[in-house]
């Protein structure tokens, strides 16, 4: 038999269909002996479905665990970063002694600056006015620096502290 090279390797024209008789014979040979009831079919399908659902949820759980690990890692990184910045250092004590009416109110002698002489003048005025004069005449002059309705040693202290505040920048 003479064959071309092409025919040797690729027998494209070969008819692969068997005869109808052969097909029927093979079908009969591999056909199940007993037909599978629909309940069994359904049970198999249900099991398969359950199996895949479990696999899916297990995969989701694993993803959740990974998310938790990343969250913990991120939190640890933030804590370490905070410690590296040394945020635990406490800032100094608050030193803001505010003068409610501003430095203008503390300028008792009206010379344009607040110094200890303002406090001294106020203290002398309070002493010369006596206890009865605490409220009225001195308050009328606007020397109730802390606004408590009285002109007394507290107001003197407030003026003195305004005089020694560092943020005045005297030197």
């Amino acid at each position: 038999m003479i064959m071309t090279g092409r025919m040797e390797h690729f027998d494209e024209d070969l008819d692969l269909r068997g005869s109808p008789k052969l097909s029927a014979g093979l079908s009969a040979l591999f056909e199940p002996q007993h037909p599978v009831p629909p309940e069994v079919d359904r049970a198999v399908l249900d099991r398969a479905h359950n199996h895949f659902v479990h696999r899916k949820s297990a995969k989701g759980g694993r993803r959740f665990r990974w998310a938790a690990v990343w969250k913990v890692a991120a939190a640890a990184a933030v804590v370490i970063f905070a410690f590296s910045l040394d945020l635990t250092k406490k800032s100094g004590p608050a030193t803001d002694r505010s003068v409610p009416a501003g430095t203008q109110a503390a300028d008792i002698d009206l010379n344009g600056r607040v110094d200890i002489l303002d406090a001294f003048k106020l203290a002398r005025q309070i002493e010369s006015a006596g206890p009865a004069g605490e409220s009225l005449s001195l308050r009328e002059q606007g020397w109730d620096i802390n606004g408590d309705g009285l002109v007394n040693r507290d107001d003197v202290d407030m003026v003195a502290f305004a005089a020694v505040r560092l943020d005045k920048g005297v030197l």
Binding site: I80, A163, V164, L166, V170, L171
Partner: protein, 152 residues
């Protein structure tokens, strides 16, 4: 693989600062020498009675921290501590002021305050002292000379 990467990252993030601190402890840097010394401030008001004063002191050389302020030697300025901004503590600059309304007031040279200082290192600290105002019993400004003495 991912799990191993995460474990390695967390381990590195935790261990590096711990090891860094450990190495700092193992090789401590040399601490500067610390000593404490008082600085006495004097005011000479001449023949005038001194009723009020205000001054400013600043460290100009060396590492100095003010750690305490004490009143003067005369009873007019020793009963209550002078006024100062608490922010001056642990700082090298302070404004101090005091007054007295009592009749017995100091004249001539008198110690008006003592500052307690923390000095770091061996360098000799230098100070700049400025009298802002001094006044007599009437609140009138008077000329005065201010000076300081370093104590031990």
């Amino acid at each position: 693989m991912k799990k191993i990467t995460v474990i390695i990252l967390i381990s590195v993030a935790v261990l590096v600062p711990v090891l860094a601190q450990q190495s700092e402890r193992d090789y401590p840097t040399e601490q500067p020498k610390v000593r404490f010394a008082p600085l006495h401030v004097y005011l000479d008001s001449g023949g005038n009675a001194l009723a009020a004063f205000q001054l400013e002191l600043k460290g100009t050389a060396g590492q100095v921290k003010i750690v305490g302020v004490e009143g003067g030697s005369h009873e007019a300025f020793s009963k209550t501590p002078p006024y100062y901004d608490p922010a001056a503590l642990a700082n090298d600059r302070i404004i101090i002021a005091a007054f007295s309304t009592q009749r017995n007031l100091p004249k001539g040279r008198t110690r008006i305050a003592t500052l307690h200082l923390q000095i770091l290192g061996d360098a000799q600290p230098q100070y700049e002292l400025k009298l802002i105002v001094a006044a007599d019993a009437n609140g009138k400004e008077i000329p005065a000379r201010i000076s300081f003495e370093k104590g031990e």
